[in-house]
């Protein structure tokens, strides 16, 4: 076999999918930890959680330091692969018959774009706190003198528009993970014929559980059930 200089991981078709799968799984892990933390809002623990979290400054920064490059890598390759795939198959057939692909799998780039737009909004809102500064946690202390994170979140999500934005974006995340969670196992080679049905179901379940866990927050707040 001729000795050839092969492409590096970042330019190989399989290598890039492996990087997408690894970064995707990192973000799934982050999403799970994030929603567990957020759930402290149900028993008025969000301010305490936020305070403790921010006492662990190195941990918060280490997470940002890892997650931001992972996200950027994921988005970069996601867009690049989607563009290549579009040009490799410019047109479909007169009769559109999808045998195995799903709405979720065919729209990864769009659900991804929705997530990206949401992330910008979400960070501006609750991390940089520039969207409704009057309710910013950094400017309002709770009864114990801690930044009032719960107050900020509830103030925002009581608006129908804001909670609808959250619910819509979370639906995008659900679609992304409904395909992505199981797909990442295939990309990493962690699948075989026997395991494939279980991985498909498991991936879908992970997506569903993450979706429900997150979506309950805006739903319960906008319905006035969670008042802080």
């Amino acid at each position: 076999m001729p000795e050839t200089v092969s492409r590096g991981i970042g330019s190989s078709t399989v290598g890039r999918k492996i990087l997408m799968a690894v970064t995707g799984q990192m973000m799934i892990l982050f999403a799970v930890i994030h929603v567990v933390g957020n759930s402290t809002i149900y028993f008025s623990g969000l301010n305490s959680y936020a305070e403790h979290l921010h006492e662990l400054v190195p941990l918060v920064w280490a997470t940002r330091f890892v997650m931001l490059p992972a996200l950027l890598l994921h988005v970069f390759f996601g867009v690049q692969l989607a563009l290549e795939n579009n040009s490799a198959k410019e047109s479909g057939y007169s009769v559109n018959t999808n045998l195995r692909s799903t709405f979720a799998s065919r729209n990864m780039i769009w659900s991804g774009t929705l997530i990206a737009a949401f992330l910008v909004y979400h960070l501006m809102h609750f991390t940089f706190q520039v969207i409704s500064p009057e309710a910013a946690a950094s400017a309002n202390a709770d009864a114990l003198g801690r930044p009032d994170v719960a107050g900020m979140v509830i103030y925002a999500l009581r608006s129908y528009v804001v909670s609808l934005v959250y619910i819509f974006s979370l639906t995008g995340l659900f679609l992304h993970l409904a395909h992505g969670a199981q797909s990442s196992f295939q990309s990493l080679g962690l699948s075989n014929e026997g395991a494939e049905p279980a991985i498909s179901k498991g991936g879908y379940s992970v997506a569903l559980v993450i979706f429900i866990a997150y979506v309950l927050i805006p739903v319960l707040v906008v319905l006035g059930i969670v008042k802080g």
Binding site: M1, E3, T4, S6, R7, I9, S12, T13, V14, G15, R16, K17, I18, L81, E84, N85, S87, A88, K89, E90, S91, G92, Y93, S94, V95, N96, T97, N98, L99, R100, S101, T102, S105, R106, M108, H179, Q182, S183, F185, Q186, S187, L188, G189, L190, S191, N192, E193, E196
Partner: protein, 245 residues
């Protein structure tokens, strides 16, 4: 039975193509799809027209030459069937059937329903083989192979190289084709020697030839006339990772 065909007609790679309508009259249920097209073509020739160009060779489902997208599905909706083995009994009198060539940047149209699939040959040339010394024939049972590995290799070797996986893939990827060859050879001791060069060579060539990337839609497995499985793609991904160590 009488059918209406909507057939893709295109003079050459650069010429614009379009769907033309043909009537297929008096078709018997026992005919194969290609025989039905033969009948239609006789009619076209008698009327002084250009017959519909399509690829075919063995007509017994083993050569992988026949290649038509029938009602949006490569080789038609019947599972594990090539166009040449698809019989007209699966259609009803009065049906309208859409017949198109494989789509994909790596498969330029030659004429009508014929596409140039030589990109698949070049993929094989980029590593889909084992290098052996010429000379005396080796002893048949000198290298023992566990039954499970032999079975995997044989299942992967079912691929007839028709390109239906590429035609079915929304990304025009040849991942299943490459996965089948990599799995077949990597499962056997004779193929392990060059396993790393093979997997890297073939997947790089896939991109060079204009095939897309795999998004794990699994349309390929559903369209494959030989039932080649996407589990081989997982194996390909493992082989790729192994090639770095």
């Amino acid at each position: 039975m009488d059918l209406t065909l909507m057939v893709w007609r295109q003079k050459s790679a650069d010429a614009p193509g379009k769907l033309d309508q043909y009537a297929a009259k008096g078709i018997s249920r026992e005919m194969s799809f290609l025989e039905m097209l033969d009948v239609v073509n006789e009619g076209i020739v008698k009327a002084g027209g250009d017959p519909i160009a399509f690829d075919h060779d063995c007509r017994e489902g083993i050569c992988g030459t026949c290649s038509q997208v029938i009602n949006g599905v490569p080789h038609g909706i019947e599972e594990r069937t090539t166009v040449c083995q698809l019989h007209m009994r699966h259609f009803k009198d009065g049906d309208t059937i859409y017949i198109e060539p494989w789509h994909g940047k790596a498969f330029p149209v030659v004429r009508d329903l014929i596409v140039d699939r030589s990109a698949l040959d070049r993929l094989i040339q980029s590593g889909g083989y084992v290098s052996v010394h010429t000379g005396g024939v080796p002893d048949a049972n000198a290298i023992l192979i566990p039954k499970g590995d032999a079975d995997t290799a044989m299942d992967a070797a079912e691929c007839i190289g028709c390109g239906a996986c590429v035609a079915a893939c929304p990304n025009g990827s040849a991942m299943l084709f490459v996965a089948a060859k990599v799995t077949q050879l990597a499962s056997l001791p004779q193929g392990r020697v060059e396993a790393s060069e093979r997997v890297r060579g073939m997947i790089d060539k896939m991109s060079d030839e204009g095939f897309g990337n795999c998004s794990n839609h699994y349309e390929c497995q559903a369209a494959c006339p030989k039932g080649v499985k996407v589990s081989f793609i997982a194996k390909l991904n493992r082989e790729y990772m192994k090639s770095w160590f």
